[in-house]
Amino acid sequence: MKENNNRLGWLFASPYLIYSIVFFLLPLIYSFYLAFTNWDLIAPTYDYVGFDNFAKALKSPGVHAAFWVTYKFMVVFIPLVIVMSLVVALLVHSLPRFKSVFLIGFFLPYLSSGVVSSLIVKGLLSYNSPVNTALRSIGINIDWLGTAWSALLIVGLIMAWKFTGYYALILTSGLESIDHEVYEAAAIDGVTGRQRFWKITLPLLYPSIYTTLILAFGVTFGIFTEVYQLTGGGPNYATNTWQMEIYTQAFKNLQAGYASAVALLAAFATFVSIFIIRKLLEKWGARNGWN
C-alpha cells in the first residue's frame, strides 16, 4: 500500500514536475547564465562579460525607477483597493436581496483586458476629451499621463477599478462567516454603530483582509499591460515597473543578457519585499490580536 502510493504520488504530480523542470528550473538556470553574457538574441556569437551587466543595472536610472515605482504603486493602489472593496463588501452585505446581482456586477471590471481598459482611459483622458474639456472650463488643466504623480494615480486607479469587485467577493464571504451571535452578544453589552465596526467586524474580518492584502501586494509586483499601453513607463520613468524595464531591455533594446541581470535583481527585490511585508502584516495582526 505504501509502496504503491509512492509511485502513484509521483505519477499524479508528474504534470507539475515536468512543467516546473522545463518552464521553471531550466529557464531559471538559463537566465543565470544569460545574465553573464552580452547576447542580443540574434547574433551567432556572444561574449561572457562577468558582472558587467549587474554593475550597469545597479547604476541604471531605469532600474532605480523600477525599484521605487513598485513601492509607489503600493502606496497608491493598496489603500485605494482595500477601502473600495471594503465599502462595496459592507454595502452589499447589508442588502437583504439581489446580493449576488450586485456582487457579479462589481466583479465585471476584473474581466477586462488591460488593452481594453487602457484604450478607454486613453480616450477619456485625451486633451480634447469631454472630461478634460469640462475640467478646463473650470480652470483645471492636467496632463494626466504626462505628469508623474497623476500617471501613477491613473494606473493605480485602473488597477483598483479592476480588482475592487474581486476583493469585495473575498471580503463578503468573510463577512458572511461572522456569527450573528457575536453581534447579538455585543449589542447586549451596548456596542453599536461605529464601535461595532472597529471592535467586532474589522477584527473578525481580518483573515479575509489579510488574504486580500497579500493578493494586492502581489499585484503591484506584476503591473505591465496598463503601463505598457498607457505610458510606456514614462513620463521620465515615473511608471517604469520591473516588468516594463525587463520587457524594454529584452524585447525593445534586444539586450537579453542585460535584461536577464535586471530580471534577477527584480526577483531578488520582489522576494525580499514580499517576505518583509508578510512578516509585518503577521506582526501587526498579532499585536492587535486579530489572528
Binding site: 523542470i21 528550473l25 538574441l41 486633451y127 478646463r136 499621463l145 510606456g232 514614462g234 521620465n236 525593445k252
Partner: protein
C-alpha cells in the same frame, strides 16, 4: 542524504536539457522549395496601403512566374516592427524578405549577420539601373562597402500648418524662422488660449524613432543637414543643437507646446502645426475628407534659426527599404531578388505604389518621369514632398541608433519639452551620454 537529492535533481535537469536540445529542431514550416515551386515569405509594413500594394504585386508576379509563391504578411507593430523582426529571427522564423527597414536598423541587423549583402546577389545592379536610383542609393552604402537595403521610398518630412488658423491670425503663409514662429504663437495664444502651436504626446516620449519626427526635422534644418553621427563618432553641431532646443524651450515657455495625448490634434485644430508624413493623406481621405490642401492646410519645410536663410532649410528624410534575410535558403534569396527585380523593372509599379501609399518612390527621376506626373498633378500636396527629397537627410546608420536616439529624448528633448532642463545643460548631458554609449 540531502546533497544526494540535490545532485539527483541536477542530473535530472541536465538530462532534460540534453533531450530538449536534441529535439530542438527547427520548426518545420512548409518546405521552401517543392515540386520546383519556391515559396518566399514577404513581410510588409503594417500600413494597409503598403500591404495592399505588395499583395497585388505578389499575385501579379505569381501569374507571370508560376515557379514562385510569394506569401505576404504584415509585420507586427507591437511593440514595434523592429522588435517583431528581431524576435522572429531569434525564434528561427524570419521571413525571406521584408520592407519597412530603416538604415539604423539595417546596420544593427547586418552587425548581427542577419542580412544578405544585396550586391552579392544577381540582379541587384540591374535594379539600380532600371529603376533609375543610382544617386538615391549611393548614401545607403554601409561601412563595409556592401548594400544591405534597397530603399523603396523616400520623403522629406514636412510641417503641416492650419491655413485657416493662420489666416485668422492675419498671416497668409507659414512662418519660416524661429522668431516668426514665436510671434505667431503669441498671437495664437492671445486669441485662442486652448490652442497650441505644436500639440502631440510623442514630444515627451523617449521612444527612439519618435525623434525622427520632431528633433531631427528641426535639427537638420538648423544645422544645414549635419550628420549628427558619422560612423562611430558624434559629430553633432553644438550651436545648431542648442538653438533647436532653445527654440522648443521658448515655445514651451510661451505655452505653445502641448505634450499630452490629444485625439487628432491637427485635424481638430488644436495644433497650429504638426509634423506630417504623406501617409497621413490616405488616412484623411477616410477620416477627415474636409482637409484640403491650400484651403485649410498647407505644407512647409521646418523653420530655421534667425541667422539661417529659410531657403537653406533641410529636413529629415523618412526613408525605408527592403532587406533579404541571411536565414533564408539560397533558392529563396534568389527568388526574392527576382521578385524585386520584376517589381522595379516597370515604372508603372512605382506609380501604383505612389498612387496608393502616397510615399514618394526612392528614384532619381521622380519629378521628371512621365509616369509620376499625373499623380503629382492630381495630388498637389505630394509635390513638396517629392521636391524636397534632395534637402532631406537620411537617418543615422549606427547599429546602436535605438539607444542613441533614446538618449536624445531622455537627456535633452523630452526634458526640454517638459521644462525640466535648460537647453544648454540638456545638450551637454546628451552629448556626454551619447559619447559614452559610442565607446
Amino acid at each position: 542524504m540531502k546533497r544526494k537529492k540535490i545532485l539527483g535533481l541536477m542530473a535530472l535537469v541536465l538530462a532534460f536539457s540534453t533531450v530538449l536540445a536534441g529535439c530542438g529542431s527547427k520548426k518545420e514550416s512548409a518546405t521552401p522549395t517543392q515540386d520546383g515551386v519556391t515559396t518566399i515569405e514577404f513581410w510588409a509594413a503594417s500600413n494597409p496601403t503598403q500591404q495592399a500594394f505588395w499583395e497585388k504585386m505578389a499575385k501579379d508576379y505569381e501569374q507571370v512566374n508560376p515557379k514562385v509563391k510569394v506569401n505576404v504578411s504584415v509585420i507586427k507593430e507591437s511593440p514595434s516592427s523592429e522588435a517583431s523582426i528581431q524576435a522572429a529571427i531569434a525564434g528561427g522564423s524570419a521571413p525571406t524578405i521584408s520592407e519597412n527597414i530603416n538604415r539604423g536598423f539595417a546596420a544593427q541587423l547586418a552587425n548581427s549577420k542577419a542580412l544578405v549583402p544585396l550586391d552579392t546577389l544577381d540582379g541587384f545592379n540591374d535594379i539600380v539601373t532600371s529603376r533609375n536610383m543610382k544617386d538615391t542609393i549611393e548614401p545607403w552604402k554601409f561601412a563595409d562597402g556592401h548594400q544591405y537595403v534597397l530603399p523603396i521610398y523616400s520623403n522629406a518630412m514636412l510641417f503641416g500648418w492650419r491655413l485657416d488658423l493662420l489666416k485668422d491670425l492675419g498671416y497668409t503663409e507659414p512662418p519660416k524662422t524661429y522668431s516668426e514662429v514665436l510671434e505667431v504663437n503669441k498671437k495664437l495664444k492671445a486669441k485662442y488660449p486652448d490652442k497650441y502651436s505644436w500639440a502631440k504626446a510623442d514630444l515627451a516620449d523617449p521612444t527612439a524613432w519618435k525623434r525622427w519626427f520632431d528633433f531631427f526635422m528641426l535639427y537638420d534644418a538648423a544645422s544645414g543637414g549635419n550628420k549628427f553621427i558619422e560612423g562611430d563618432k558624434f559629430v553633432g553641431d553644438d550651436k545648431a543643437g542648442v538653438e533647436t532646443l532653445k527654440f522648443v524651450d521658448d515655445l514651451r515657455k510661451d505655452k505653445g507646446i502641448l505634450a499630452q495625448n490629444v485625439t487628432d490634434p491637427f485635424e481638430t485644430g488644436t495644433s497650429l502645426f504638426i509634423d506630417l508624413g504623406p501617409w497621413t493623406f490616405t488616412n484623411w481621405a477616410e477620416k477627415y475628407p474636409e482637409m484640403k490642401y491650400n484651403q485649410n492646410y498647407t505644407l512647409s519645410m521646418p523653420p530655421v534659426p534667425d541667422d539661417v536663410d529659410p531657403k537653406d532649410s533641410k529636413t529629415f528624410a523618412d526613408t525605408k527599404g527592403l532587406v533579404i534575410y541571411a536565414s533564408a535558403t539560397k533558392e529563396q534569396q534568389k527568388a526574392a531578388m527576382d521578385f524585386v527585380k520584376w517589381v522595379y523593372s516597370d515604372a508603372k509599379h512605382d506609380a501604383e505604389w505612389f498612387q496608393q501609399t502616397m510615399l514618394p518612390p526612392a528614384r532619381d527621376d521622380l519629378t521628371t518621369n512621365e509616369a509620376f506626373k499625373e499623380i503629382l498633378d492630381k495630388n498637389p500636396q505630394l509635390k513638396p514632398y517629392a521636391e524636397n527629397v534632395p534637402n532631406a537627410i537620411p537617418p543615422m546608420d549606427n547599429p546602436k541608433y535605438n539607444d542613441l536616439q533614446t538618449i536624445i529624448g531622455q537627456e535633452a528633448w523630452n526634458k526640454v519639452v517638459r521644462g525640466e532642463i535648460d537647453p544648454v545643460t540638456g545638450w551637454a548631458n546628451m552629448k556626454k551620454a551619447i559619447e559614452g554609449e559610442l565607446q
